[in-house]
């Protein structure tokens, strides 16, 4: 392993716990509390110790606090209260560079490599920042070095390849090897392997065990139980900013973990909205759809589904399992590499958003600030762009529509001429929802339709969607990260996991437990 120039933290002032090397944890967190603006408590008095030569999995739902926890270890966030210790000594990391110099390296879900540079060049930049290379180090020298390290750890990486030519798996391999090369003793994998196909993921498992045997430590963050069970020695479950369980390899099984992850939540009965009576005609038909994500991974893997007139179909799933790409493809915003999308008997596959919109489809997209509004323009302008079809805009009519949306969804705005960027996130979301509900004549396709809304508004929006389906026969397909929302709003439920669709599930005969099982398997 490459050596690192030791750099002592300058803020060591407190008394240091003394202990011998074997029993001193490599990283320990003491009573960490972190609150974000808006009063959201991400971590509440969390303590955790991680030892040399072990693989610890941090499991939890979205928002459980696991990412925040490792970002504190990595110097991205500073805790409000509590302390981080490395090798028993308190540390204060201002940025990831400080953490890297202590041998803590994080690899995240999105590869942090520069696409148009070669693998070797990417490595070189990191090596220079830890003082292992100079500005005039040649890439050819680094290539040989990488090849050696690649063999040593059994991670196949081609140093001469341009990053953009690599597959997602290869990029993650390069990321992990880079972490090792720059001297990682503690490797944090923040959902770095979670979205890989199982077969690909297993290749990494072998390597992680190899790394461990060299004395390395791994902190693995995931919400997929099988991934956690595959390689870890210890499983720590977080829920709502607290550690709720620490399970040894032997005592951990999928069912126990799931219970801890979802807690009493999973028992909470959700008041489902009245069911609608679906019509006979299929409005949205998706057949064997395959869609790539921004990184060229296959995010949607052969999905088929249909939505009848007047029916609300919900797709449950944990974020990043392909639901965003699926919704974008149906909305005509992302190319399908294979399969077919038919809306109201019109084949709209790869015809673009215009074809979809002209049928009368409302779209509430993921990335609302990018795809849902133009922030510099006013509320009425955002609405007119979608509704006005004539050459000359009838601003009086558009003002009326904007006023309607503002009133109906109780948007906090001084007038319809407010630029959208002056509104809060929740109010921007309300503009989008109101506008799309108004626009939708045949169908509504939505992603997280009530994000950023308070509970009362969210319930009202769900009610409005349902009543459009029941009373006007609107076909609704939505994906949501909030399982409660899916259960409350849907007539029929699918689960999406790693790009594959499971179901449909009939809510009268399927328990919540069963749906969760599909989400985390």
């Amino acid at each position: 392993m490459a050596s690192i120039k030791g750099l002592q933290s300058s803020t060591e002032s407190d008394q240091q716990p003394i202990g011998d090397n074997t029993s001193t944890p490599v990283v320990s967190l003491k009573r960490i509390t972190k609150t974000f603006p808006g009063g959201i408590v991400a971590l509440d008095n969390v303590s955790l110790e991680v030892y040399r030569g072990e693989i610890v999995a941090l499991l939890g739902e979205n928002g459980a606090g696991k990412s925040t926890l490792v970002k504190i270890v990595y110097g991205v966030y500073t805790p409000d209260k509590g302390r981080v210790y490395v090798d028993g000594k308190p540390v204060f990391f201002k940025n990831p560079r400080d953490a890297i110099r202590k041998g803590i390296v994080m690899v995240s879900q999105v590869p942090q490599l520069i696409e148009r540079l070669t693998v070797a060049e990417n490595f070189l930049l990191s090596l220079e920042s830890v003082g292992l290379a100079s500005p005039f180090t040649l890439t050819s020298r680094i290539s040989k070095f990488i090849e050696r390290e690649s063999e040593k750890y059994g991670i196949p990486v081609n140093p001469e390849a341009k990053v953009w030519s690599l597959t997602y798996t290869q990029k993650q391999m390069a990321e992990i090897l880079r972490a090792i090369v720059i001297g990682a003793r503690v490797l944090i994998l923040d959902e770095a392997l979670t979205y890989l196909p199982v077969i690909e993921r297993r290749k990494f498992t072998k390597f992680l065990l190899e790394f461990k045997s060299h004395g390395g430590t791994v902190i693995l963050i995931t919400h997929k139980i099988p991934e956690a069970l595959e390689s870890s020695d210890r499983i720590v479950v977080l829920r709502r900013g607290k550690i709720v369980a620490t399970l040894g390899k032997e005592e951990a099984d999928a069912e126990t973990i799931r219970r801890h992850m979802f807690g009493e939540e999973s028992k909470r009965l959700t008041e489902a909205l009245p069911r609608s009576k679906p019509g006979k005609r299929k409005i949205i038909v998706v057949e064997r759809l395959r869609v790539l994500d921004d990184y060229g991974r296959e995010a949607v893997r052969g999905v088929s589904l249909s939505v009848f007139r007047g029916e609300v179909v919900g797709i449950a799933g944990i974020v990043g399992n392909g639901q965003s790409e699926l919704v974008e493809a149906i909305a005509g915003l992302r190319r399908a590499v294979d399969g077919r999308i038919v809306i109201d008997d019109v084949d709209v596959t790869n015809k673009g958003a215009k074809a979809v919109r002209s049928i009368g489809v409302g779209i509430i997209p993921d990335h609302p600030l990018r795809l849902g509004v133009s922030a510099d323009n006013t509320i009425v302008e955002n609405i007119a762009a979608l509704f006005s079809k004539q050459l000359v805009i009838d601003w009086t009519e558009m003002r009326r529509l904007a006023g309607h949306v503002i009133k109906k969804l109780n948007v906090k705005a001084s007038s319809e001429d407010d630029p959208v960027k002056t509104l809060s996130g929740g109010n921007i979301m309300k503009i989008i929802i109101g506008r799309e509900l108004l626009y939708a004549k045949k169908a509504l396709v939505a992603y997280n339709p009530t994000r950023a809304l308070d509970e009362v508004s969210a319930a009202a929006v769900r009610g409005a969607i349902k009543s459009r389906a029941i009373n006007e026969g609107l076909a609704v397909l939505f994906a949501s990260e909030d399982l409660d929302e899916v259960l409350e709003l849907s007539d029929r439920v699918y689960v999406i996991n790693t790009g594959q669709l499971y179901g449909p599930f009939d809510l009268d005969t399927t328990s919540r437990d069963e749906i969760e099982k599909y989400m985390v398997m």
Partner: protein, 304 residues
């Protein structure tokens, strides 16, 4: 016959040396992610500085080499300022570049005009128009180019410069000092722009006129850099061909049998076609502009 060819070589080398060095400099600057629309102003400023350096006997030294050196240093100072301010402040690089272009024109006149007025024939202070000088210049310029290519494509510094142009945020998270790297790229790139520009009055025209700012030769170099996808080696044939087309447009029209004015448009049309060609082929990935070119280096934090 031999003299005619010798004359052609001397002419071609002058045009090539000017365009190639300026285009290489421009490419280095832009590969670091800084959009330089001040190029034509800097070009003219450097020609003025070259005239000043060549004739005014700075510290007792005169002649073309002093001119080249002064032009390089003046451009370098300009570049340090430009790359620094565009990196530390989230301002519009395009607008600032165009504004500074005017400042460059003005300063070029202020520096160059009095010096030009002092001497009769600037050719006496220019590089000798012989084949030996031409060949030496050719060798030196190509050597400079190859060295720049090597630095950019094979060293850690070069990787850092390109990383700044592609994804400065990712680069910063890898530990690259963005400001420092862009300052180095700016110094180096503008130095080459300055040196290249100095060849325009001191080797190509062998004269200088206040009005030469209207010629837009800096924009031609900018075009060459773009047309060759800012690829330092690919710039060699491009500079030679486009430079040659410029220098020899009279000969060209005789050969092609097209009117002289239309033959002047050929280099620009060629550059446009080259860009369309890249955009439609696999070369796109290699030769497309740096992803973060012209984008301010700061992050919008807002999300829903």
């Amino acid at each position: 016959m031999v003299e005619a060819y010798a004359g052609l070589v001397v002419d071609l080398v002058a045009a090539f040396a000017t365009f190639y060095l300026v285009a290489v400099g421009q490419s280095i600057v832009e590969k670091s992610g800084v959009l330089n629309l001040a190029i034509d102003g800097v070009f003219f400023l450097a020609t003025g500085a070259a005239v000043y350096g060549a004739v005014s006997g700075l510290l007792g030294f005169k002649g073309p080499l002093v001119g080249t050196l002064v032009a390089g240093v003046i451009a370098l100072i300009f570049g340090l300022f430009f790359n620094w301010i565009t990196t530390v402040l989230p301002l519009s690089q395009g607008a600032l570049g165009l504004s500074l272009m005017f400042v460059g024109y003005g300063l070029g006149i202020i520096i160059g005009y009095p010096a030009r007025m002092k001497v009769g024939n600037l050719a006496d202070y220019a590089y000798p128009a012989d084949t030996t000088t031409a060949l030496a210049t050719l060798l030196a310029v190509v050597a400079f180019g190859v060295a720049a290519y090597f630095m950019l494509e094979r060293t850690s510094l070069g990787a850092a410069i390109r990383a700044c142009g592609e994804n400065p945020h990712a680069a910063a998270s890898m530990g690259v000092d963005i400001v420092k790297t862009r300052l180095i790229a700016g110094a180096l790139g503008f130095l080459l722009i300055g040196i290249g520009s100095s060849f325009f009055p001191l080797m190509w025209l062998r004269g200088w006129d206040v009005k030469s700012y209207v010629l837009g030769y800096g924009w031609v170099a900018y075009t060459i850099a773009l047309a060759a996808g800012r690829h330092i080696l690919l710039l060699i044939p491009f500079s030679l061909v486009i430079g040659g087309l410029f220098r020899e447009s009279v000969r060209l029209q005789a050969v092609l049998g097209i009117p002289v004015d239309l033959s002047k448009a050929v280099p620009y049309i060629a550059a446009l076609i080259a860009m369309v060609f890249y955009s439609m082929t696999k070369l796109k990935k290699t030769l497309m502009p740096p992803s973060s070119l012209g984008k301010p280096f700061y992050r919008e934090e807002r999300t829903i």
